[in-house]
């Protein structure tokens, strides 16, 4: 190769640096399609969306970047920043233990957790071996209690590893990408004033529980049943959100 051919991602980087954010978005997207996914490329795509004033897509792609690599600190910082710009304030639901769990979840990649839990398992076997084979009482005690502790650590880390992988794989979350959308109690556009609706705005994250095909609806052929802030359940148009 005479000259290093710039990859789509690198072309997108230079478009971004030239403040041509629309081309950057296109190039990052085709890079993801053709060259594969990575946390950083989703992060860069999200930045380009933010610069192009599409907060919803920006939030969605920061979330994708964090799914692939929860330790991507830049993505986390920018997601916090963009979240502070969106209209709907996310509810802070977490209790202390849940917070600890979430921060642990985000402290390592899913695969790192898998290997960590295997290391814990190996140590657990070592402790069991010490307990069985040692003739020294002190060693046996250490092996016994250490083994119990390691059993818990192993079990927890395995849970985290499984959860982390399933979270990374799941596509059960979505972000509102239109400036605003209406939540209705039924999977159809509200027709009368008695249909209770709530308006949510661009950048708000929802959890998809169910979907239903609505071939009669002229606007959107599909509706999602979503949960917001782990509590309210409602329906919204599938075309108004982007699955993460």
């Amino acid at each position: 190769m005479a000259a290093h051919a710039a990859s789509l991602g690198e072309q997108a980087d230079s478009a971004y640096n030239k403040e041509d954010y629309r081309s950057a978005i296109e190039l990052y997207r085709s890079s993801i399609e053709n060259e594969g996914r990575s946390s950083d490329i989703y992060y860069n795509l999200a930045n380009a969306y933010y610069r192009a004033d599409k907060l919803g897509m920006a939030v969605g792609n920061y979330e994708r970047a964090l799914k692939l690599d929860p330790t991507n600190s830049d993505a986390r910082a920018n997601l916090e920043f963009v979240r502070s710009r969106i209209q709907d304030r996310p509810e802070d639901d977490s209790a202390f233990l849940s917070n600890v769990h979430h921060s642990l979840l985000s402290s390592m990649k899913a695969n790192s957790w898998a290997w960590f839990s295997f290391a814990m398992f190996a140590l657990l076997l070592g402790a069991v071996a010490v307990y069985i084979f040692s003739t020294n009482v002190a060693f046996r005690k250490a092996g016994f209690f250490g083994g119990i502790v390691l059993l818990f650590v192993f079990a927890y880390s395995l849970v985290v590893a499984l959860q982390s992988a399933s979270m990374a794989k799941s596509h059960e979350e979505a972000v509102v990408i239109t400036p605003s959308t209406q939540l209705s109690s039924t999977p159809r556009a509200s027709r009368t004033a008695s249909d209770k609706v709530v308006t949510i705005h661009e950048g708000t994250k929802v959890e998809i529980i169910d979907s239903i095909a609505t071939p009669d609806d002229p606007v959107s052929p599909k509706w999602y049943n979503v949960k917001i802030n782990n509590s309210a359940k409602a329906w919204l148009r599938a075309s108004d959100v982007e699955r993460i």
Binding site: D13, D40, N47, L68, A114, A161, A165
Partner: protein, 605 residues
Amino acid sequence: MAKKRFILFILLALTVCCVWAQQPSFSLLTPRNVVEGRNFSLTFRLSDGDANPPSAPELEGCTLLYGPAMSTMQSTQIINGKMSSSSSVDYSFTYRADRAGTVEVPKVSVSCQGRTLSSRPASFQILPPDRPSQGAAQGQRNPRADEPSSQTPGRVSPDDLLVRVFFSKNSVYEQEPVVATIKVYTKYDISSFMVTTQPAFEGFLTEELPVSLESSMEHYNGQNYHTAVLKRLLLYPQKAGKLSVNSGKYDVTIVQYEQVNHGFFRTARPVEMAVTTSSNAASLTVKELPAPKPAGFTGAVGHFTVETSLDPELMRTNEASTYTYTIKGRGNIKFLAPPAVEFPAGIDSYTPKTEIDASLIGGGTNMAGTYRTEYTIVPQEVGNYTIPGVPLVYFDVESGEYKTVEVADKPIKVLRGSSAAPAVSQEAIDSSIDDILHIRRSDMSEQVADISYTVESPLYWFMYILAAAILVGVLVVYRRNIRLEADVVGRKLAKAGRVASKRLKDSKTFMDSHRNDEFYASIAKALWGYISDKLSISPSGLTRDNVADKLNAYGLSGEDADKVLEILDRCEMARFTPNSSDAEMADIYAKASEAIKSIEDVKKR
């Protein structure tokens, strides 16, 4: 007494000398307008000189009635011991105004001490007489401004006292200067004039112009009036549209003359009268500046030039320089916006100081001057910078289009200054950045089409099973060892067997290769060697006869000892009977092995 008179004479003579030393001058006292049919006088004044009276000038439409009449005036002043004196001679010519029109007074010259002094030419107007109004039909005469006897005390018509507001132009552009004049027109003398409501000039920026308090006569609406300018304003319209000025209100005290008949003669007695009047409401059409307004236009209308300067040119860090942006020209110079000069980063600038030096030109119809903005700048860093030139865009009323004065960029070089930087309060840097973080470099090698998760691979779970299996395997082996350790007899037997097979290793080799002689020899040798080792008896101390006793003493049963002897004997025998069969060799081998095992068992029992 005579001496005193002499001194007085000297003083007088000196005074005369002083008077003669003054520069003579000759001028025409500005003639005032006059109404047709009236007599008027034209007066020339010769100051500090002596000459023959001038000849009467020919005035068109006027008839010379009399002249010149001379009046002399002399004055002497002593101020702080300094004496000054002046003298003047007025020459008056009386004319009658015959015909209305403008009268030009030509240059008039006199010869004074060998020099010719000339007056400046001047002009004045002969106004037509008042038109008779409707009042005349009713036998009432209109009062006349030039004739106090025509006045009737207590009777004032609204036409007799007017206050007018008028503009110098009817239609102007935004920001184009226009002069507004407030003038009073009266047929009577005025003893007091009070403004109760000033006309408000809304939508204008105003600049008051000086007014002369002199009154003159003017013909307006067919009537002659005494007029005086109350106020002159230079106005800058601020918005487009029809701008109007509301009427002002004035409390005026006029003086009318009552004719008093004293029998032989009549005199005029002044009678004062309070009158309230209001001015007319004037309006002005203001045209909007043509669109589109070019970028950088901030409302300058007129004609301007720009100069910039930097002092000192050589800049040093932490030493102040002054960048001056001077706009010169005519127009709304007082109401310009300060130029938006932006200094490059690394150069601190302070709030600019603006000085406006403007004066009236063209008889108060416009303003001209300079608008100077001074920026005090202090460079903080060494380096080369450029102060961007801010162009001035203005609207030229004469050509009706926008013009731009380009200002060149000013390159500057900042050297290191000697003075230390002033102590600055530290600022948090990151708090000022309010934006997302920059992108990371895209690396294709990190991108993967399918992301694999370790927990999903069977190999991962197999590793758990493997690790557990290893532990279990180790455990099983360990357990077996323990069990074997517990089974003493079996272990001893196994050990005895190992010893025997080790001792009989050579023999087995010979047996397998059918070498009979060597086989029997090695069996005997192995047995003798083994017993010797086992019983700790030197081989020389062992014989066919004592070996049974020794073995018995060691603890071996007689039967077993006999077996040992039998093997030894058969070995001796076989050496002399060749062609012994393989089966026999195997039998001997097995028996030797059993014998060794039985001896081994003795020890452990």
